[in-house]
């Protein structure tokens, strides 16, 4: 046997003290703690940096708008004015009464530039009223439900387990240089029948609410009906179920049909659950393409 082999053999026989593993585990634990701390500090630092930057930008911008009439005017005339409108949560609150939880987020539109006109205020006012109305209605529904539940033999404990929730919130469908499209929704988690939604579509170039007529032209009703009929026929072929006219299915759109604007700047007509098809289909959407 060569010397090296003997040495190797003896080397492999070096006994490993039990303490080794204990010490190593200790080191690893220490290191993990440090890592955790480091990450937390880093995160805090980033947040602080963002806050500081945001504050500085805000101050500069406001200062410029307030001190320089030229700058303020320029801002108002910039062609990208669409980007300067923003939708923010104006007020959000959550309440709970009689085990009915209500969560409300009220959106509001804000123009950063001057000269917003009264339109924005009108829209905001309308949104606010609608949200409150949704909330009141939903709470009333829930209260009625509670009374009925208790009268028909349910105990308050059982009622508490129901976890009734009312959520009023908004979703931005599209926000680009031309359009702002969003929906305000009210959802009651114990029933499908009471969901309500209202769509808002704004043309940011004119800063006015935009209608289907504005988008599709005077014959928008015929155009949309034709397109929807065609799409229903196609979807039926691929197995989707729609109500027939007798069952209360699609017969034609009304003037106040719900729609939003998608990324191609095309209107998308929305039918709520149960409107024209069984509830299992959920909301049904039809993109309307205007052919030139």
């Amino acid at each position: 046997m060569g010397k090296l082999e003997t040495m190797k053999e003896r080397y492999d026989q070096i006994t490993i003290p039990e303490e080794l593993n204990i010490r190593i585990q200790q080191e690893i634990q220490n290191s993990r703690k440090q890592q955790e701390e480091k990450r937390r500090n880093k995160f805090k630092r980033i947040i602080r940096n963002i806050e500081v930057t945001a504050a500085v930008v805000c101050i500069l911008f406001t200062a410029a708008l307030n001190t320089s009439p030229v700058f303020a005017k320029e801002m108002g005339q910039l062609p990208v004015i669409g980007e300067l409108i923003q939708i923010v949560t104006f007020r959000s609150y959550e309440t709970e009464k009689d085990d009915i939880a209500v969560s409300v987020e009220i959106p509001t539109l804000e123009m950063i530039a001057e000269d917003t006109g009264t339109l924005m205020d009108d829209i905001n006012q309308e949104i606010l009223i609608r949200c409150n109305q949704y909330a009141d209605e939903a709470v009333r529904h829930a209260e009625e439900y509670r009374v009925a539940y208790l009268e028909t033999g349910g105990t308050p404990e059982e009622w508490a387990e129901h976890s009734i929730k009312i959520i009023i919130d908004y979703e931005i469908k599209q926000h680009n240089n031309n359009y702002l499209s969003f929906v305000v929704r009210s959802t009651e988690n114990w029933t499908n029948a009471n969901s309500e939604s209202k769509y808002y579509n704004m043309d940011l170039r004119t800063r006015k609410m935009i209608t289907l007529k504005d988008m599709l032209g005077d014959d928008y009703i015929e155009l949309a009906n034709e397109s929807i009929q065609k799409q229903i026929a196609e979807r039926q072929k691929s197995g989707e179920t729609f109500f027939t006219a007798e069952e209360g299915g699609f017969t034609g759109i009304s003037e106040d049909v719900k729609f939003y604007i998608n990324g191609y700047n095309r209107p998308v007509i929305v039918f709520e659950k149960y409107d024209i098809a069984p509830g299992s289909s959920g909301e049904i959407e039809f993109e309307i393409i205007k052919e030139n």
Binding site: G2, K3, L4, T6, M7, K8, R10, Y11, D12, I14, I16, P17, E19, L20, N21, R23, I24, Q26, E27, I28, N30, S31, Q34, Q35
Partner: protein, 166 residues
Amino acid sequence: MKQILYEKLIQYILQNQDRFYRVAYSYTRHQEDALDVVQSAVCKALEAHESIKNENALKTWFYRILINECLTALKKQKKLLLTNDDLNQEEMYYEKGYESNDDIEKELDKLELDIQEIIKLRFFEDLSLKEISCITQLNLNTVKTKLYRGLKQLKENIQEADIWVN
């Protein structure tokens, strides 16, 4: 990404702790010192884990730290021996049982430190010459030359060793 490497490093350490200890022991010949060496190597590696470039380099990167720690410990031991006249210190240096064995270890000890190191890594730890060149940060040819010189000094049959190297 960094997080994944960190976890890989921990895994690697846990799986190979016995090897690390043997390396440390082969340098220090002393249980407490060897434990200290491994522990501080692990500590340093975990602290510096962000400097690992990729997973493949993990092994050689760790060995480099470990061997640096071994050399530091050796220096400390020597200092202790020089400043302390007590001859009993000698016993701390060579653990009992180890010394009473053949003189083979002593023969290895007579070689230059870096040659010892290369022989240990190649034959005891079974690392490739390329890996050793990474750990020692010596040119691959230098590693080869030193290895051959070491084997010659040990009067080891080069022919036989040649097969091992390949």
